[in-house]
Amino acid sequence: MMQLSIGHLFPDLMNIYADRGNVECLKKRSEWRGIQVSVHQINNEMDLHGVHVDLLIVGGGQDRQQLEASNALQGAVGHFVKHAFENNVVMLAVCGGFQLMGVRYVDADGLEIPGLGIFDMETIHPGRQIRRAVGNIVIETQKGQLVGYENHGGQTYLGGSTEPLGKVLVGHGNNAADDTEGARIETAYGTYLHGSLLPKNPHFADHLIHLACQHYEPGFKLSELDDELEWCAHNGVLKISGRSD
């Protein structure tokens, strides 16, 4: 039987935008297919020796919590995440968690917070007087359209070696200068989309599960699920964003 281990990175620090739904979604969609799932909390208070994960998930947090998370990434947790990335663990980093996976984040007070540098990118907060990027968002990716809700002050700029996750159709995306949204490199994905993202983008959730399973069994096929509700919620966001046919 297929077994997957999900690492939930900083579940208590990076938790304010309810991105916990992504972990719940991956777990349930795997279990509904008979794939056994265990979820591990990953933070600097855990003994990470011998901990193995197939998927690593991190969400958005408040500025102060993000700074704490960044400090933790300088130590054992950072090694753990980098090691996971080098071993092609499937990663999904959302919002603040996404920003921490870049090279650096400069916060609203001009404080420079180092990131892990998994994505070649940097994020600059232009200051509290500048309007945050807030609202429903629709992006086009290689895996199809993704819908969600963005709420971020930081503006993210990608470097040459990192591709965006998608192109913004409705909303703000990474920054005000181009229409990119998120980032991807190998099997690591970053994005600003909350919602939670995965439940109402079941194709993307399945893509992540599929990648993780293929790691063990090339050619592994996921069985079909009844996704009527998932697409109903997905289409609901398209509709309020003026993108429905």
Binding site: K28, Q62, P199, L229
Partner: protein, 460 residues
């Protein structure tokens, strides 16, 4: 002259709304505000005994309602925004009926204002007016799209308080680390309140709690006990910041699910026991906040009368209101953020048997346009008989319940009118329907109940 025209046109609007069968909780005030931007401040400063303000994330409406009831019980005239309309226009709308034809306040010399105020609106009132007392109930994450992160609200409250130059009495929930931190900088009179009884509480904050770090040094907080979310007896092992000594403590004796609770409280020499006919632990905080804010108000409130007044209160406007229709009972419960919703779910789960539930999720500005928060609500605690889901974001709600694996014999979701959803929910309900609704959805359901003659218009 300005106030004459502002008041006159606002009244015309209120009259027209009344003829249309609508409550005018905001529009009259909005019109008056447009015509005279300083009108609200002028009126607040005219109230003879001054103003008590209540703000915070949850419990504003109930706390200010209880506070108004206790004060009114001492024969003082209370001007109060009872409907929970808490932006400047809503506060203004609630004062306008107390104005004469020239737009001047007409009140007895023993009149006081008790107003709940939106946490972001507080900065628009202070420092143009100085409240006698400011009550801070709690600070949870709520509508991040509108209010921003918790730290930024706490920062703004600290700034506002520093401008009052210590003349306002600060009544604050000391079990809330962010509020304790806001209060620690304040130079004026401080009254702290909290809730105790270890038997009822855990030592770990709830996993959806959103403020686990010390507000002073960012180390992780430890709890001797935690009442709910991040509220409790906290201490930071890093810098020693801890819960301040409590001026007033509500000692929990019993929580009877959604029905009521019982707590003790010492008001100086007087130990009072309160039977509070309101749901859940969170309302004990509201009862304690109102009691100590009233008692310390300097208005000569007799502590012996507080239990009687509190035991005769009822749930306010959509916060646990109960209605009867065709032999069935209906309880309307506002849900608007993870903490409040989780406490409602916890109280419902405490009922112990499968229940009939209707959930309405809207994404208006007043609801929060980001519906992500439902993923931080532990719906899996619910044991359902039937579930009916509606509202503008019904599919997001239905999806949340699917992943929480909330199974029910009857599972209905669609986006019909509130009237249709209500008919459907009532038809499958055995005895008691629990309606959980976000703010604008709660207003819609209540309006529907009024039009069916089941609920009454809320008094202004």
């Amino acid at each position: 002259m300005n106030e004459f025209i502002a008041c006159l046109l606002a009244r015309v609007a209120a009259g027209i709304l009344h003829l249309c069968g609508r409550r005018g909780t905001a529009l009259p005030g909005r019109i008056a505000e447009m015509l005279h931007s300083k009108y609200l401040i002028d009126l607040l400063n005219q109230i003879p005994l001054g103003v008590l303000l209540v703000t915070g994330t949850n419990g504003k409406t109930t706390t200010s309602h209880l506070l108004a009831a206790i004060i009114a019980g001492s024969g003082i005239q209370v001007i109060h925004n009872a409907s929970g309309s808490n932006l400047t226009r809503g506060i203004l709308s609630s004062i306008l009926p107390h104005c004469n034809w020239r737009g001047k306040l007409v009140a007895t010399s023993r009149a006081i204002g008790v107003f709940e105020v939106d946490e972001a609106v507080l900065a628009q009132l202070l420092p143009s007016m100085t409240p006698r007392t400011l009550v801070l109930t709690n600070l949870f994450r709520d509508q991040l799209d509108r209010y921003g992160e918790l730290d930024s609200i706490a920062r703004s409250w600290s700034r506002i308080l520093s401008q009052t130059e210590g003349t306002t009495r600060l009544v604050f929930n000391a079990d809330d680390p962010s509020l304790a931190f806001v209060a620690s900088d304040y130079s004026g009179e401080k009254i702290s309140f909290g809730v105790a009884n270890h038997d009822f509480f855990d030592t770990e904050p709830d996993q959806w709690s959103d403020s686990s770090l010390c507000p002073r040094c960012s180390n992780r907080l430890q709890y001797r006990y935690c009442s709910y979310s991040h509220l409790g007896d906290f201490v930071c092992k890093g810098c020693g910041f801890s819960r301040p000594e409590l001026s007033y403590v509500g000692v929990v004796n019993e929580i009877r699910g959604l029905k009521s609770s019982r707590f003790n409280m010492a008001l100086e020499q007087e130990l009072v026991e309160v039977n509070l006919p309101l749901p859940g632990l969170f309302n004990i905080y509201n009862g304690v906040a109102a009691s100590c804010a009233a008692y310390t108000s300097g208005l000569g409130i007799d502590p012996k009368r507080i239990p009687e007044i509190l035991s005769n209160t009822s749930s306010v406007f959509g916060r646990g209101e109960t209605f009867r229709s065709n032999g069935k009972v209906m309880t309307l419960l506002l849900i608007k953020n993870p903490t409040g919703a989780n406490e409602v779910i916890r109280a419902l789960a405490g009922l112990g048997n499968p229940i009939d539930v209707m959930i309405l999720l809207n994404d208006g500005v007043a609801d929060g346009q980001d519906v992500s928060w439902v993923w931080d609500v532990e719906f899996s605690m619910l044991e359902l008989r039937s579930i009916t889901i509606s509202g503008r974001r019904y599919a997001d709600m239905a999806l949340r319940l699917k992943y929480a694996e909330c199974n029910a014999d009857e599972f209905h979701y669609a986006h019909p009118t509130v009237a249709n959803a209500l008919d459907n929910a009532l038809s499958v309900t055995e005895e008691h329907l629990y309606v959980l609704a976000t703010y604008t959805a709660m207003l819609e359901v209540r309006q529907e109940l009024v039009s069916r003659g089941i609920a009454e218009e809320y008094r202004k």
